[in-house]
Amino acid sequence: MKYILLIYSSDQAWATQTPAQLQEVMGRYRVFTESVRASGQMVGGEKLEPASTATTVRVRDGKTLTTDGPFAETKEQLGGFYLIEAKDLDEAIGIAARIPGAAYGAVEVRPISSMPSPPSR
């Protein structure tokens, strides 16, 4: 069966780590990533930019509404995801707006961290 593993942590805490602490954590992530790849169970995975870089997209009455920030309501819950390639945020927002869920819920557009990933096998 496929599973999605969503990692929650404090952006604040990440921002206050020293370079040495960051190195240490990233090192442990590399080890973990390698092990999941090695077992053939890795389908995909990315580090996300912090929530402050997110944009939430809704479509109401045919109009695309964008708000700064991550999705933060309580009436709706995470129901699905797409991972896309787009040349800039406008293009990403345009794609998000076409997702059917955008018309009755919301789609959070979060940039993927552009830090170099560990080399693939």
Binding site: P50, S52, T53, T66, L89, P111
Partner: protein, 383 residues
Amino acid sequence: MQEAFATALDRWPVTGVPDNPRAWLVSAARNKAIDALRRRTRFDARRPELTALAALEESADVLDPPDNRIDDDRLRLVFTCCHPALALEAQVALTLRTLGGLTTDEVARAFLVPPATMAQRLVRAKHKIRAAGIPYRVPPDALLPARVDAVLATVYLIFNEGYAATSGDARVRHDLTGEAIRLGRLLVRLMPNVTEARALLALMLLHDARRDARVDAAGDVVLLEDQDRSRWDRAQIAEGVALTEAALREGGARPYALQAAIAALHAEASAAEETDWRQIAALYRELERAQPTPVVRLNRAVAVGMAEGPAAGLALMEGLDDALPGFHLVPAARADLLRRLGRWPEARAEYRRALEAAPSEPDRRFLSRRLRDVRPDGPPDSP
């Protein structure tokens, strides 16, 4: 391009707009691209990348145009600063900082927040532009109308922050309205075919023309009908009126043009009694068609109350309490209409409701005076 733009945001306010910003921006982009490629080659020794690096360095001369396109860059900057993915307060801060040329401290003072808070707001906004890939460009045709609206709305927000505030340093607030007007002029120059940009400038000039008559010695706001019109800036009114006429002629009955026309009609009346309320009411009807909001409806009700009598104005106020709960101007306006109809007990009730909702001392003082005017035994100074 993203990083170079971020650098521009960082460096322009300090060093001023360079003589040839487009070339500077492009060469900055080139430098950063070269740096980025050099960094990446440490991770990845693919040969084509190095070839690309060489090609970039060679193309240096081709990318150095001699023409001075400051306005091109300002235009791109304005759309980037006002991008809808940024929080409104961030749009305002960025616009004032990068296009208005205000220091971070000046922007902080204008919005009555500590400088550190404003500095953080700007840092976060620039980081988002960079990290989320907000493009540095004039938006494509399909997005342009909505984006132009966003730019105009941001500038108008800056104006209203300065204009509506009755607290804080008066000089600083005037700096904000002045800055908004400057930005408005810049927009007219950058977007000569956008009639609403001209209309917005007109609207701001016309409102601002009354600045010396709006506040009395006690710091209370003086109603339009009570203002000393000899203190209005007539030159600014003339400019505002001319711009309004041009905007209406070329762009038609669009929201800012209609609001400017209403302001122009007020400004052209030599005395409050000379005000062309019928025209103003008609303009509000058009404005409500374009922008059917309860605030527009409220203003229209007041205008109709002047043009056709208080009963007609009252009829238009149906449902406004539900639409604008806690907004003191709704019961205040209704109270005024009832007072003019001689329905004083009802007027008293509405003035009391308005007093409960009034947000400031000057508002309460004004409403208390009005309440005294409709006392059972008549106003305080009646025989």
